[in-house]
Point group: D2
Chain length 341, copies 4
Amino acid sequence: MRSDNLSGVSEKVMQAIINENNGLALAYSEDDVTAASQENLRALFENKDLVSYNLVTGTATNTLILATLCPTFGAIFCHEKSHIYADECGGVEFQTGGAKLHPISGKDGKMIPSAIEDAIGHYIIDEPHHSQPAIISIANSTEAGTIYSPDEVAAISEVAKKHNLKLHMDGARFANAVVANGCSPADLTWKAGVDALSFGTTKNGTLGAETAIFFNASDDKGFVYRRMRSGHLVSKSRYVSAQINAYIDDNHWLDNAKHANDMADKLKGAILNSSAIDLLYPMQTNILFVKMIPALNKALEESGAVYYSWGVDDLVGARFVTAFNTPETDIERMIEVIGNF
Amino acid sequence: MRSDNLSGVSEKVMQAIINENNGLALAYSEDDVTAASQENLRALFENKDLVSYNLVTGTATNTLILATLCPTFGAIFCHEKSHIYADECGGVEFQTGGAKLHPISGKDGKMIPSAIEDAIGHYIIDEPHHSQPAIISIANSTEAGTIYSPDEVAAISEVAKKHNLKLHMDGARFANAVVANGCSPADLTWKAGVDALSFGTTKNGTLGAETAIFFNASDDKGFVYRRMRSGHLVSKSRYVSAQINAYIDDNHWLDNAKHANDMADKLKGAILNSSAIDLLYPMQTNILFVKMIPALNKALEESGAVYYSWGVDDLVGARFVTAFNTPETDIERMIEVIGNF
Amino acid sequence: MRSDNLSGVSEKVMQAIINENNGLALAYSEDDVTAASQENLRALFENKDLVSYNLVTGTATNTLILATLCPTFGAIFCHEKSHIYADECGGVEFQTGGAKLHPISGKDGKMIPSAIEDAIGHYIIDEPHHSQPAIISIANSTEAGTIYSPDEVAAISEVAKKHNLKLHMDGARFANAVVANGCSPADLTWKAGVDALSFGTTKNGTLGAETAIFFNASDDKGFVYRRMRSGHLVSKSRYVSAQINAYIDDNHWLDNAKHANDMADKLKGAILNSSAIDLLYPMQTNILFVKMIPALNKALEESGAVYYSWGVDDLVGARFVTAFNTPETDIERMIEVIGNF
Amino acid sequence: MRSDNLSGVSEKVMQAIINENNGLALAYSEDDVTAASQENLRALFENKDLVSYNLVTGTATNTLILATLCPTFGAIFCHEKSHIYADECGGVEFQTGGAKLHPISGKDGKMIPSAIEDAIGHYIIDEPHHSQPAIISIANSTEAGTIYSPDEVAAISEVAKKHNLKLHMDGARFANAVVANGCSPADLTWKAGVDALSFGTTKNGTLGAETAIFFNASDDKGFVYRRMRSGHLVSKSRYVSAQINAYIDDNHWLDNAKHANDMADKLKGAILNSSAIDLLYPMQTNILFVKMIPALNKALEESGAVYYSWGVDDLVGARFVTAFNTPETDIERMIEVIGNF
């Protein structure tokens, strides 16, 4: 589909919202459901010190975390195709009051440690003419559908530590990355040196619930004021927190992500077998970037498949995204169409 | 209760959310449900030109409207007890990038035109040392539980027009004001000179849905970019817009507000009859500010009533708020307690 | 005259600028002259720990100090007629990225401790809806031409300490306040609890030189980056610092201020003796606010006197300002005109 | 030398400052000297419509122009080594309230039109997730010591016009570019499609005077308020404007730049003749980037030459800058040292 944003809400999460609708509850995150969500996340991440703040959008989560961790005159290093650099309309620059996003190129939507080192090297510490390096931000899974392994995260964390920077992970599709890595949430984050995580759930089955997680409690200084003044303190917070609780209960989030990844993998098999269509990146999660002959593109569109596409010389580029509730029959129909070429 | 924020979601609105959960829909406000909500609001406000943007919080709505209408070096005139001045943690200053909020005092939570004139008079037009007057912002109903009538709004609009300012209305409790005024939504807004309205619904029965309404289409320039970069473009927008649609359908919003106002009015009757408790402001909607003898406060608390309170010399000040779903029995119990003094 | 800004540069300061024009020097405040200015200020203020940054304008100095000391979600308490509130076009809101300026009224341009206490009382600590109290800012001398004594400053400092706030002094006319108080610079600042001072010199004989002084070295964190990114790191800094050095050398600054104060005092004598003109505030430095009969205003203008004036009912309000180089004959001419009424 | 910032003030400009010190003058740019500077610039640039604002630093000039021309959610395209991107500590991001600087690589410190086209192509117009393209900013002469010709500027202007962007020129070393091009100031700016110019003079003989020039009068909307609130409205403005007037009088500025360029050219000749040192860029103005053998670097340093240097593998990289008052004997001494290798 065009994006996993188009999917609806899983039955389990919707039921949790409905169940919440019983009488009064304190507003503004002072309710018991919100308190419980932090406890649940502490258990999930095997970390008693983490603090969490539930929000409604991924951009809110990314920008508020970064504004909390980064001085207003700081520099943040990220991939040139990352959401925070390319798709948040200057949200980080705005929310931080002027921090600089330094874009770094890299294969398959990923940055390698030496490229980050090079970028940091452009900035002289204690030189007022230069924004001061403060944060490395990586997305996992990436916007290209690839993943960082725990070891790769740890290697980037080494760079961060060496230069006294914080490491942020944009986890808009964190569940897909965990499933693809086959590791624990802790392994992929704080145990690998991540300081803060945007824990996304909306693309994977909730209505609208994203959590800012700081793995070191003292790192969240001022977060609650930044959240309020930017309009992100939801009054009926229990309905957001209830989504988080249902999402992580009983591995619901991993089941959802596994389905999405599996559907993408099935489609990938057909692509690799066809000479009419090719992968642009080594797909590892639920996003496939491809290029294909125009005739195939036409046939797919006529079959009802919906996706972003653009011209690539004589070919057509496209992004296919699967979700927690993508019907297997949809994938099979696409495979059938591809098989005809 | 402490606030109408503590109330849950009305059955009708919750059902609309559930009904929405059927298959895919475009994200980011490009869905049909969002388009329908604008049409519904145009009908409700009898104004074919209005443009509307659905958001999740009142602070987001107020600050994004004001940032869109106000130059970054502008001045905004508002009541000193207004939400935008006193309860948004500097949200307007932040979202506008430095505009000045000029607080104005006034009886019963309201500003009178001459006081606004006086305040504007402090600023010299075209004088670079002075923030430039840009907006008057009023709340209707007010934070004190009082209302502006259409005529009073029109009188303030005259001041705005005279000085070439825009007039904004914070309608976090707009439904309560419409019911109390017994007028049409149009009468209380654009027909009285209001340029933009924060159309609040969350306190009156929805889960989280607030709409920024510009009555003159050209006034919304840049709104969509400010919304995105501040993290307020919800991906699964249809679930927010469905709430708006259910809320205004079949007078649901007015029925809700009428119940809240009626409950407050019933309580007011008992207060006026008692010598142990007095109104601080002439209650007109669903908020009662009172002062009472400590013994009554104690008795109310023991009876299970929940509200904000604070010391006022030897007396106790308190704010009682009713909501769309306040049980009449709760009010009757309070009245009974008051009757004992 | 209209303002002490209209005066030129004292001979001594101009000579220092000329003397500086000999060969190369490091730029961007890394030169020896700038280093010397900090040493000179440490001696003048009897404080070895102070750190100082030379700038060109008073608004730059005020806003950069406040942005350094105040969190972006903080509240700053100041007089409603203060320069930072009324005459910097929202500079503090801009430079801090959204802090709130809370205006406080008070007689003769001054705030009394209890009024500040009351204002702080509006803000609940640790409540995200409220900007968090961070700074009290006073001007000395004030915009009304009055002064705070060391004891009055200390009393305000007590309020600051009690609430864990910083105390800033806008010293655009600091020299006039020191002369009027007959105290030492240290007595009027850090010994009375002032944490940071905008040490103004431009209105008192320099070309353009203002110094941000932090009396506690650790308070200046991040200042150098904020100065640079806001465009206030002057390249040929030695010419600014040379002004500061000449200004404080051999009591030049106090001599200048004494002349200005004396000229104002002389004029004040004539005003007190006349029934055609009255003081609006108890003039203590070099600014006289008066109201007078229109005929006198007309006569003064015809005599060549230049000042700001405005209508006050049937009378004319006016602000007379004297400077370091106001000719005594100018004052005598004004006295003569007043004597005719 | 390390930078042309280290040079002092030319005799002619210093005399103009001294001459200005005669009596009172209106402050805050309302003085006659400032009015005259705009007239002088209109004559110099053969453009009766231009509006000009005198400031003290280059960063102030760049950032205020860009904040005036660029919406707060806009994107600005510039070279990755440009001063606004790499050396203003996030000044543009701060002053605009969150605009995005998009860095573009390019040979010899210059951008070619197709590279700018490519960069603009990353942004979808009317797509709220993307910052909206607003400005192309080029430096002339560049930070690499190279120049854009009028034709090259016009070619970039074509790109700007095609995409409805404004074209800004950072002219911190504008005089050097004019001399090197042998063209008129008009030819290199508005006649080639430049909308706004940072007209730098400080590096070329003034004490501290930079002018923001808008070639289309209506483009300066709001500039005066942004200047004031950011602390850049100098009170004794006549002393700044007097520098501008002396600077452009009688070709003083071109004479100064010619000397600097000539000195660099003389040095360049020696470099081209030596096998121990090489140019990194094709020097065209007053900045030479070189790499040389370590022994030569050592010899130059021992001879008293002062410059920035850094390691380049086994060689030493260095930046030599000449100024309006660089003694020819200094250059001859360097040439002699180079000749020894």
